[in-house]
């Protein structure tokens, strides 16, 4: 942990109201300011106690505090360093170790995830039993989405009409296996807007889940592989449709100590920069747009997705109250911290419900699963879609 980064904090407290755990519990040690204080204690010689590790683990890594901080504290960097330190210095209890091992041995690997697909319909029924074995297993089962038919992605999707750009596309791990329809929509939208889309085979996880959990070695291994894949494809722009992946990939240079050799852009960021050419067909929907933390806070992308949605005739965009507060999904957070995640999910579901929208749009599969599950718990239903799916429907003139 870098003491200079710690010293940047002037203890003003402006981060507190944006921190999801402070919002839930109102306790100093579960706020960014308090966690930085704990980091300082550790740097000054206090060993990582189980209490301390617990407060770091309780951080969602949503980066809302980074947006709020007037002093420019790099909390994102700090918490990453801290998580790695916790993994090194803190001995977790065996049950927790086993569950973490399972999650990190599963999610970043599309082929292993694929093996789960046939059994996913069972998840809901198994949830209560798994819950008894370990709350994290129960949470995982409770979140499992109904998966759509697998779609094999072609290596190349040609631009429709005049070719305006050539881009690479990340298929990701969870996105690719559990939400294949989002990847298909992304490729179609890019092609309809005049892009040749290269989708290299043999892609895996970009490393984001591991980076955010302090598993630096695994993260670097996965990142290097991703870099190799896209360099071989020879693209200079890689378009990413999952917020968490995009934010991590934008930091490859820091993780690997070398520039990856291509620029990483979120789908919405890329489309707005490119400018629309394809015709938009009307979609008469009231839509609530949810800011994924890794898009809004980590990448500063708030305006672009809204601009794209507003560009669809007939679509009415509604703002969600407390938009800056995380929904509790936060990568693997809803698996490891199921209780806090549930409370945050319920809070977000209420906020989304208050808009009266019929469709919830977000750019991160984790958020979508989390909010949809929370709304189901509360007895409400809302249809969910990725920004790419909404655009795809509008561009093709089909219903959602």
């Amino acid at each position: 942990m870098d003491p200079e980064l710690i010293d940047d904090c002037v203890h003003c407290g402006f981060c507190l109201p944006t921190c999801p755990t402070y919002v839930l519990w109102g306790e100093e040690m579960d706020s960014p300011r308090g966690r930085i204080h704990l980091m300082k204690q550790h740097v000054e010689g206090t060993p990582v106690t189980p209490e301390m590790a617990g407060h770091f683990d309780a951080c969602l890594g949503c980066m809302a505090c980074v947006t709020a901080c007037p002093s420019g504290v790099k909390y994102d960097r700090l918490i990453e360093q801290t998580r790695a330190e916790v993994e090194r210095a803190h001995e977790r209890d065996p049950r927790e170790r086993a569950v973490r091992g399972l999650v990190f041995g599963l999610f970043p690997y599309p082929r292993r995830l694929r093996l789960l697909r046939p059994g996913m319909w069972l998840a809901e029924r198994l949830a209560p039993f798994l819950e008894r074995a370990h709350p994290s297993l129960g949470a995982m089962a409770g979140l499992a989405p109904r998966v759509e038919r697998r779609q094999r992605m072609p290596r190349l999707v040609r631009a429709r009409g005049e070719r305006r750009a050539v881009v690479g596309m990340l298929t990701g791990c969870v996105q690719g296996e559990f939400f294949p329809q989002v990847n298909a929509a992304t490729a179609r939208v890019l092609a309809l807007e005049g892009c040749d889309v290269l989708i290299p085979a043999g892609q895996g996880c970009c490393g984001a889940l591991s980076v955010h959990a302090g598993r630096a070695d695994q993260a670097r291994r996965l990142a290097r592989r991703t870099v190799r894949t896209f360099r071989k494809a020879g693209v200079d722009t890689v378009v990413v449709n999952a917020a968490g992946c995009g934010s991590s990939m934008k930091e490859y240079a820091e993780l690997l100590g070398a520039e990856p050799g291509f620029r990483v852009m979120d789908l919405s960021e890329f489309l707005v920069e490119l400018g629309p050419v394809a015709e938009r067909h009307p979609l008469p929907f009231a839509v609530a747009y949810h800011d994924a933390c890794h898009l809004a806070h980590a990448q500063g992308i708030r305006a672009q997705p809204r601009e794209l949605l507003r560009g669809i005739p007939g679509l009415e965009l509604r703002e969600v109250p407390e938009a800056a507060i995380c929904c509790g999904s936060a990568g693997t957070y809803n698996i490891f911290q199921p209780e806090a995640a549930r409370d945050l999910g319920d809070r977000k579901a209420k906020a989304v419900g208050s808009t009266g929208a019929e469709l919830l749009v977000s750019a991160n599969p984790g958020c979508t699963m989390q909010i949809a599950a929370a709304m189901r718990r509360g007895g409400a239903t809302i249809r969910v879609a990725h920004t790419a799916e909404v655009l795809d429907a509008s561009l093709r003139g089909v219903s959602l």
């Binding site: 203890h11 003003c12 407290g13 040690m29 206090t46 007037p70 002093s71 420019g72």
Partner: protein
């Protein structure tokens, strides 16, 4: 304290801790040393003390129970809201209990017809406004930390903010307070109570007269029209002249804020507020009220600010927020241009502004310490930010000297050692510069009337923590006011 040092003397608190645990929910009593240390300071990090015990009550009744137990065991207690204070008013006691109100954050009642809201002390200042904004109301006092500072803390410090020029401080917007007295009784002080204005005494008492557990605030109607102007001047003097001219013209803007070049640089680095380039000073003037009145005042303001090289008017709420963002983040933003700094708070008569600013410049040059100036220019409330490098030997001490000398300047010019941040622990030593011993003794009598055992936030506000047992006796000789011929005694 560093790791390896002896832990604070909590053993003496063991009996009280046991009693607290048996009368409060399990997770609301904190004794783990690592957790306790995260409460060692508020927004002023210069003073630190690890609390003996932290309690996080959720109801007024629980606060009262804690205070009664503190009395039973003769242990001092300190109340803390969000921990954003800038005078160390919530500095904990190592031998005491820190009562944190951050879990008491329910808006209990909104009574729009009577312009009132009843809230718990941990509710943030801005949350009150947010609860009534859609209905066209707001809570007027607006400290720069309004998104996080708690209303309980605002009451304790009588907090101000940019808009207090026209609308007054917290004390003008609190209708009633339910408080836990220093001996643990729950009582309500109401503005409407006949007799002594005890509510007036309580607001701004910095936790020495008890803990507010339920606050009835006054809500204000959002003004029909708001015009926010950013005027850029080449020098601070030109800005100061404009301020005086605005007031002299009989205009009472909602706010007149001034920032100098150094604080603009900091704000620019922090929030990219895009203030006009090359400005020696910017004025933020906000006019509000009925549309016709605001339009007339704005015309007059344009004439007065003719010396400004750029005049920017916010076209919509987003642009208004952008103008304010630079000002409201200024304190913390200074962290971008200096490793360490002291946020000072003093008041001078508006007319003395140019003279005092020039004197601050001289102090800054003499001690080789940079001073950035941000202030509520309309009411002469200065916030000099004294910048130093805490890695440089001796720099902290020099900054401390400059910071103290600035307060001397304020007193010399007939002002005050604090405008809105309070005395806390930080300015205790400056109190005798402003008040005679007789003044301080008189204030002490008020304190003793509420807190005879001296358990409620001891060590704050007053220089000599005199026990109430040692109530100042009959004065020997004449009262200083009589002696100086300013008063007569019959």
């Amino acid at each position: 304290m560093h790791a390896g040092d002896a832990p604070p003397a909590t053993a003496a608190l063991d009996p009280l801790t046991a009693a607290l645990r048996s009368s409060l929910p399990a997770d609301s009593v904190i004794t783990d040393p690592v957790r306790l240390r995260t409460y060692e300071c508020d927004g002023l990090t210069y003073h630190r003390a690890t609390p003996g015990v932290v309690v996080l009550p959720e109801t007024a009744e629980q606060v009262a129970r804690v205070v009664r137990l503190c009395n039973e065991f003769a242990v001092p207690f300190v109340a803390r809201g969000s921990g954003t204070g800038l005078s160390g008013g919530a500095l904990p006691r190592e031998d005491g209990v820190l009562i944190v109100t951050s879990k008491m954050r329910r808006v209990l009642e909104i009574d729009l017809p009577n312009h009132r809201a009843v809230v718990e002390p941990g509710v943030t200042n801005l949350a009150i406004t947010e609860a009534v904004r859609e209905q066209g109301y707001y809570y007027a006092p607006d400290p720069s930390s309004q998104q996080i500072c708690s209303i309980g803390g605002n009451v304790a410090e009588n907090s101000g903010g940019a808009h207090c020029l026209k609308y007054g401080f917290t004390v003008n917007h609190v209708e009633a307070c339910e408080i836990v007295t220093p001996d643990g009784d729950l009582v309500t002080l109401d503005r409407m109570d006949p007799g002594y204005d005890l509510l007036g005494a309580f607001v701004g008492s910095e936790g020495t007269l008890g803990i507010a557990t339920r606050i009835t605030v006054r809500l204000s109607r959002a003004p029909e029209s708001v015009t926010t102007v950013l005027a850029a001047f080449e020098s601070i003097e030109q800005g100061g002249t404009a301020v005086s001219a605005i007031i002299a013209a009989g205009i009472v803007p909602a706010a007149i804020e001034m920032m100098d070049a150094l604080s603009i640089e900091a704000a620019e680095a922090a929030v990219a507020c895009s203030y006009p380039e090359g400005a020696g000073a910017v004025l933020i003037v906000e006019l509000d009220g009925p549309a016709a009145e605001v339009a007339r005042q704005f015309d007059r303001l344009k004439e007065i600010c003719s010396g400004a090289f750029e005049l920017r008017v916010a076209a919509d709420p987003a642009e208004r927020a952008a103008i304010w963002k630079g000002r409201k983040s200024a304190f913390a933003a200074v962290g971008r241009i200096s490793p360490a700094y002291i946020v000072q708070d003093g008041v001078v008569p508006r007319t003395a502004l140019p003279e005092v600013l020039a004197a601050i410049d001289r102090l800054s040059a003499e001690h080789r310490i940079r001073v950035a100036n941000v202030f509520h220019a309309g009411d002469g409330n200065l916030h000099p930010l004294v910048l130093f490098d805490d890695g440089e030997p001796g720099a902290g001490e020099r900054a401390e000297v400059v910071s103290g000398a600035i307060l001397d300047l304020c007193v010399e010019h007939g002002g005050s050692i604090t405008g809105e941040h309070g005395v806390g622990v930080d300015k205790v030593r400056y109190m005798p510069r402003m008040f005679s011993e007789a003044d301080l003794d008189t204030m002490q009598l008020v304190r003793c009337a509420f807190d005879p055992r001296g358990l409620s936030n001891p060590g704050k506000v007053f220089p000599t923590p005199r026990l109430c047992g040692e109530v100042p006796g009959v004065r020997k000789g004449a009262h200083p006011l009589v002696e100086s011929g300013k008063a007569e005694q019959f």
